[in-house]
Symmetry: C2
């Protein structure tokens, strides 16, 4: 791609955790004609290994990559940032039952707020986020009504909102199954071996294969009929 | 106050910058029957001296105090976090004209998002914020429509929203003049000598007296007919 073509594409912020969903969203943002600027968060998550994945994914896409750091452990209240154990081997009926302990209070609100600030600074009016309502009906901030409410907020919270052109929150995965996401990303050339989904990985990046996130990921590859490139640890 | 009385009061998160407005809000939250848990942000602001003020204010009120740190300087885009100069000696007509360079993109959205997370963790459904529409019509995220939009978001973003009891965003200063705020806080016993409003203070905490914030503060004390306890530097 020449520099001129590059410069004419509008910039979009892509929230990039390093997981399967956000990697797919990054490919979708590029397909939709945006120059992605990726944003990751080092928030004290026990699966910090995902940040290495995010960095590698941004590099694979030739995208700018910002990391914002803050420590949500000081608030506590979640298995992902505290000393509550990550649940393992839950059946799908259990996953669908209520808000799981891996829920991090207000996490997506915080992430999107930073995205809104960065968008405004770099002159972007588009934000992509990989929330997915079907697999995680238990997370309040992955639901369509959450995205709609953040969209309304974004339009009054910022300079671009006040000056009339607004901000668009894109959540292209929100109604897709994990298998559909994997199929779409594979068609767009996403290398899922670079992604990390596990909530409780080993320090060298092997997935546990047993947390909710690992189970949903594995099932997605099976249903999509695509070989699962995940490195699972033996246990 | 006995421990028993203390425990029966509902908890509220109070965003506490260390400035005049948020100190007044802290007093109002206590008057309204809440046990305040104060929350401040170390975000790379050039007027970090306000964090000392926040700590002293929280201690003066016997309130719990959390500080969340992140570095908005990496985004840039504001005189408060970057190397743009803080404007001095502007007339009120200039202050009222457009969004000032001291605007920090999405700052109040970010602050309220963290408040939402902390509220959920400590079991609070009330958040107090000292935004004020009259003095700062130039900041998009100080307007009543911003607070209303965040209120709507809070009700779908969190566990307490999903489970039905919701979250209330209190912005008691939003329609008050600076003089009215100072009069209200003085009646509630706020010691304004502990507060810091200047955007460009000296390292030892002396106010410049010339930035927008200093000018609005000084005028507020004059109009309220209350002696201004601010330590201004000689220049």
């Amino acid at each position: 791609m020449s520099m001129v073509e590059h410069q004419t594409k509008p910039k979009a912020i892509v929230l990039l955790s390093g997981g399967l969903d956000s990697a797919t969203v990054l490919a979708i943002a590029r397909r939709d004609g945006f120059t992605p600027h990726t944003l990751s968060f080092d928030y004290g998550q026990r699966h910090r290994v995902e940040l290495r994945a995010a960095k590698q994914l941004a590099a694979a896409f030739g995208a700018e990559h910002s990391v914002m750091s803050f420590d949500l452990r000081q608030f506590g209240g979640s298995a992902l940032t505290g000393d509550i154990d990550v649940p393992k081997d839950r059946r799908e009926s259990q996953m669908a039952n209520g808000i799981p302990v891996t829920y991090v209070p207000a996490r997506n609100t915080i992430f999107l707020s930073f995205a809104l600030g960065l968008a405004e600074v770099i002159g972007s009016t588009d934000i992509f986020v990989g929330v997915n309502a079907l697999d995680y009906s238990g997370y309040p901030d992955c639901r369509p009504e959450f995205i709609a409410a953040f969209q309304s907020l974004a339009n009054v919270a910022t300079k671009s909102g006040v000056e009339g052109h607004g901000v668009t929150i894109h959540a292209p995965l929100i109604q897709m199954t994990k298998a559909q996401i994997i199929a779409a990303g594979t068609a767009l050339g996403v290398d899922y071996s670079l992604t990390s989904s596990c909530y409780d990985p080993s320090p060298d990046g092997y997935a546990c294969g047993r947390c909710d996130s690992c189970q949903l990921r594995r099932k997605g590859f099976t249903e999509a009929g695509i070989p699962d490139p995940t490195r699972y640890r033996q246990s």
